[in-house]
């Protein structure tokens, strides 16, 4: 795994003289985002209107929230395919709770509790029972969708307390609240990944799980933790999504899975584990949202969006594969 040693100076303790590859990859992505935005605003003047840019940022922040925890999972060398379905279930049950109690606090607590519980169950199956993560989370994807469908009984729930809606559609100092939440999550997750032992350990696990285990990394506990964090982020995303659209339906989270994984990969995380940053995922989410937004502005039918997302996902993987080959 020389590739990882090269790309992660923190593991070797050697400070490279040149810029770290992670910084380079982040800057490259930032430049791509800027060039893309510039190009689109030249083609279509509606793009750089304030309302459209705010819209793009809000949409990207929601996508990022879904993808943020899953970034940690991928860095740790596993995958979480249940994020979309987890958003759905957390949002639906939270909506039900708010509908019957009228309490925003209870709604928030419910969404976070369900998201975390689902993450813990996934994590326990992967960490302790050693089942492959893609299978476990693929199975739980369908279990969660089924539960959400059944809970809702085919009727959407609408209308939530004002304080709750604030989290999805409000402004603080002129900045949309979801974007502030996004900054908060970026801060906490970056701190966890880059400045704590836990963070160093998940990079090591992703690079080579056996080696990490042999050098004393508590692999099982950390796996449980990253899945739990992914669940927390799904719960958080559910809150923001609910507050934004003011309505819950059993199909609301499904469309997030593909773009979220795409955002993570576009952001520079590798599916082979051991590389990736949360800031990269922010840029990935932004890039994907800009592409989809541009398609909208160019009046391309929204039916093409899943196709475009799938294509971006595959393109990101191809790029990642090419990079890996070059590094070897």
């Amino acid at each position: 795994m020389s590739k990882v040693a090269l790309s992660s100076p923190r593991l070797t303790g050697v400070r490279p003289k040149h810029m770290s590859p992670e910084l380079v990859s982040l800057l490259a992505r930032l430049i791509v985002v800027l060039i893309l935005s510039l190009a689109i605003s030249l083609v279509n003047e509606n793009f750089h209107s304030l309302s459209n840019l705010t819209n793009v940022l809000r949409q990207a922040s929601l996508l990022f929230l879904v993808a943020s925890g899953a970034t940690l999972v991928i860095v740790a060398g596993a995958i979480d395919l249940s994020i979309g379905a987890n958003v759905t279930l957390s949002a639906c049950v939270a909506a039900g709770v708010m509908h019957s109690t009228g309490s925003a606090a209870l709604g928030i607590a419910t969404a976070l509790a369900i998201g975390t519980a689902v993450g813990l169950i996934n994590g326990a199956l992967v960490a302790w029972l050693k089942l492959p993560s893609f299978l476990v989370t693929y199975g739980s994807l369908w279990i969660l969708s089924g539960l959400a469908l059944n809970y809702m009984g085919g009727v959407p729930i609408t209308g939530f307390p004002k304080e709750f809606r604030y989290l999805g559609s409000g402004f603080l100092f002129g900045v949309p609240v979801p974007i502030l939440i996004m900054f908060g999550v970026v801060g906490v997750a970056s701190f966890l990944m880059h400045l704590t032992t836990f963070g160093q350990q998940i990079f090591m696990m992703g690079a080579n799980r056996e080696t990490a285990a042999l050098s004393g990394v508590p692999v099982q506990r950390n796996l449980l933790l990253v899945f739990a964090l992914s669940g927390v982020c799904s719960g958080l995303a559910a809150i923001v999504a609910l507050g934004r659209v003011n309505s819950a339906d059993p199909g609301m989270g499904d469309p997030f899975l593909l773009p979220a994984i795409a955002a993570i990969l576009v952001g520079g995380a590798s599916l082979s584990g051991g590389t990736g940053t949360v800031l990269g995922t922010v840029l990935g989410a932004l890039l994907l949202t800009i592409v989809l937004n541009a398609m909208n502005l160019l009046t391309i039918s929204s039916a093409w969006q899943p196709f475009a997302t799938g294509a971006v996902l595959v393109a990101a993987m191809l790029a990642d594969t090419a990079m890996n080959r070059r590094r070897r």
Binding site: L81, G139, W142, A262, P306, F307, V314, L318, T321
Partner: protein, 325 residues
């Protein structure tokens, strides 16, 4: 890691010489649930209902057979459900446009094959993880199906398609005959050809295979190509049954297929599998869905049941394999 080549003994038919105890999930569902459904759902034990189950299962089997190959190579294909929908829509659009049925079927199979080859190249030649590659393919196929139809069903396919649904050979509905024939072909491929032996070995020990000069990547990629091609072909059965092309009709069918393969005793590790177990698994899923339907259990809870069943089987497998050493 031992290569499990004993399944591929040329002389033995391997139909029942596999490992029946591995298909415990399917057998349990068949023998425990069938009497229960019989007692609690009046219409369960009727000829008409069984015919219905068989017809439903005939399409699922077409997806589950290549899925068994994919899982034998320690991979996964999430795209067949979306592909089946896309190919069905393509087939329907061709028919509406006046293309003859055989040619239209070929076009649909070509679309399926194109996606399959794409998956195969990404997984086998480029070494990308199959679940994400095929997730991308799922998105693209689903998007294409929605985009070319604007989300609407394509109907008015003409009498030929309806005739296909009602056709019988020796008293058996054509769709069931097609499924049986498909099983025959896949059985032959897996147990009586060199290709099949390699498929089993790719999951068992790809390195040993490569060292002995086998073009592992070609075999590995071909498995995904076959999966796409079969999905394209299965769209014919699908169209015959529904008499329309619907862009989202088969979404999620890959989950039933994966569940059937797992229940049928094919493991995600070491290329351990039993093709006839997949048939049992498909029938088990068909009966489970049908019985729960008759009992008035909502589709949503059926999903939950199947999901939990799959996780339970995986867990049992894990404990059994750990117990063995």
């Amino acid at each position: 890691m031992k290569i499990n080549l004993k399944l591929s003994g040329g002389a033995s038919p391997a139909l029942f010489s596999g490992l029946p105890h591995k298909a415990l999930g399917a057998i349990a569902v068949l023998f425990v649930l069938m009497p229960l459904f019989g007692v609690f759902a009046d219409r369960f034990f009727t000829a008409g209902n069984f015919l219905n189950i068989a017809l439903q299962s005939s399409i699922l089997l077409l997806i589950a057979l290549p899925m068994t190959f994919v899982i034998l190579t320690e991979g996964l294909d999430l795209s067949p459900g979306a592909l089946l929908s896309l190919c069905g829509v393509v087939l329907a659009l061709c028919l509406v446009g006046g293309v003859a049925l055989p040619l239209a079927t070929l076009v649909a199979m070509f679309v399926g094959l194109a996606f399959g080859v794409f998956n195969g190249v990404c997984v086998a030649a480029l070494g990308m993880p199959p679940f994400v590659v095929t997730l991308g393919a799922l998105g693209m196929a689903q998007g294409l199906a929605l985009a070319i139809t604007d989300g609407n069903a394509v109907s008015g396919l003409g009498p030929e398609v309806e005739a296909l649904n009602n056709a019988q050979i020796l008293g058996l509905p054509l769709l069931i005959v097609i499924a049986i024939a498909a099983y025959g072909i896949f059985h032959w491929l897996l147990y009586h050809t060199t290709f099949g032996r390699y498929v089993i070995a790719v999951g068992g020990n790809a390195d040993a295979l490569r060292l002995s000069g086998v073009r592992v990547r070609l075999v590995h990629g071909a498995v995904y190509a076959i999966s796409g091609l079969t999905a394209g072909f299965a769209s014919l059965s699908m169209i015959a049954r529904t008499n329309a092309g619907h862009p989202t009709i088969a979404l999620g069918m890959e989950f039933d297929a994966i569940a059937a393969v797992v229940l049928g005793g094919t493991s995600f590790e070491r290329g351990n599998g039993w093709l006839f177990g997949t048939v049992l698994g498909v029938i088990a899923i068909g009966i489970l869905r049908n019985g729960l339907n008759l009992l008035g259990v909502d589709t949503s809870l059926q999903l939950v049941c199947i999901g939990i069943l799959v996780l339970a089987v995986l867990l049992i497998e894990r404990f059994v394999s750990e117990g063995r050493g």
